[in-house]
Symmetry: C2
Subunit: 245 residues, 2 copies
């Protein structure tokens, strides 16, 4: 941790996707006393409602700024999140998280962390926060501790401050080993308003009183989110299209 | 090296900037028998002539395709290549290459390689080629062998094929230890038309008979390029704005 000035808090770059996990990770960074610079990506995702949610979350949780960087991964193809491949629906909780899911975007977290690293170097920040989780998404290779350690090693040799001043960057993934239920509980403890977050892979944008994007309730992300709230014994404030949810 | 099919050549993703070094690196990949997929970035650089040069180079050297991915690093600031900071001029060859230059873009190569890795995974490619050089640009931390090794380690744990099939990605930097003069000689040996390349950090776009972008002849990149041709005893086919060049 390295403040630019003894009276300033140390800075952190926090990846904020608009989903619930990165919101809790940002809340953890704030709770640890960091001045948080929120970063989101326009990476060719099909649903721009995620970025609107990211902006709401960053503001609500006290980030000092929020930037959106365009990284057009859809130009390279390869995932149901950016291509026209169907998002799987109605899979059981047990079927989710085995093997690499079709929603995996090759090297996405590597790209996002690389951009975060560049911004951190510019800001004088040494801490990177992200909301990845190893339990629910065991199929994503870039959501594992080995990946985070390898990235920290890379960051040391890839940067001017690492090379010239021996600075070490730390990648914080405070939710890495938490269950979805534990994430819900921790988020509520930290004051996260989950009603601001957007988790669904296949949102149905509909006017329901306001202009709220509805979650489908049936994609893997919705299934895991709903199970998390259920297991935590809490009610998800987001409204779902499916009555079952 | 891993072909998708015994009759297909192995694939490589080759970063092509439009400059002379990445053109020679692409020519090396072709000479080694790879099917080359060329990749360039629209990263907020001030001069789009670089991308036009990249397209010319990719085509001339037989890449099977050329994609341009937008990664808007200028949204984060921090370099004379993307900000309105003045590009230094008229520095001696000896003054160049000490310390981190103002043209350093934080984490640029990390970001570019991360995107290349994602594309490689999609294509079934395991080889990444880039034209970085450790001698002329010793001030760039992400142009050093330590950086390339750290990236290969990261690639192994960051990808589905690395994790599930034990695939190893290799980062090839065939020019890493070559002098500029050696790069010129090697490029000519491989049939690279350096007249297609664009090196200048501060090109003067002018109509000179055709619609050719002129190189300034005075920025660090031009100074090093000209010295390379001079030392190799060859004439640079690019036309320069300064008579001295």
């Amino acid at each position: 941790m390295r403040a630019l000035n003894p009276t300033d808090p140390a800075r952190a770059v926090c990846l904020v996707s608009g989903g619930m996990d990165s919101a809790v990770a940002l809340a953890e960074a704030r709770a640890a006393g960091f001045e948080c610079h929120a970063l989101s990506f326009r990476y060719g995702q099909r649903h721009i409602v995620e970025l609107e949610a990211a902006a709401r979350v960053a503001r609500a949780l006290g980030a000092v700024e929020h930037r959106i960087v365009t990284v057009d991964l859809s130009a390279l193809g390869g995932s149901a999140l950016t291509d026209a491949i169907d998002v799987p629906k109605d899979r059981s909780e047990h079927a989710i998280g085995h093997g690499v899911p079709v929603t995996y975007v090759p090297a996405r977290n590597t790209v996002f962390l690389a951009v975060a690293l560049g911004w951190a170097e510019t800001l004088g920040a040494r801490e990177l926060f992200l909301g990845i989780n190893a339990l629910d998404y065991s199929g994503y290779p870039d959501c594992r501790p080995e990946f985070l350690h390898a990235f920290e090693e890379l960051a040391r040799v890839a940067t001017a401050v690492g090379t010239e001043q021996g600075a070490r960057f730390r990648v914080h993934a405070p939710l890495l080993k938490l269950s979805k239920a534990a994430i819900v509980s921790r988020g509520l403890e930290l004051g996260v308003d989950f009603g601001l977050t957007q988790t669904c892979y296949d949102p149905i944008v509909a006017d329901v009183g306001g202009e709220r994007a509805l979650a489908c309730g049936r994609c893997d992300a919705c299934v895991l989110r709903l199970k998390g709230f259920r297991d935590a014994g809490r009610r998800d404030p987001v409204r779902y299209a499916e009555a079952g949810a």
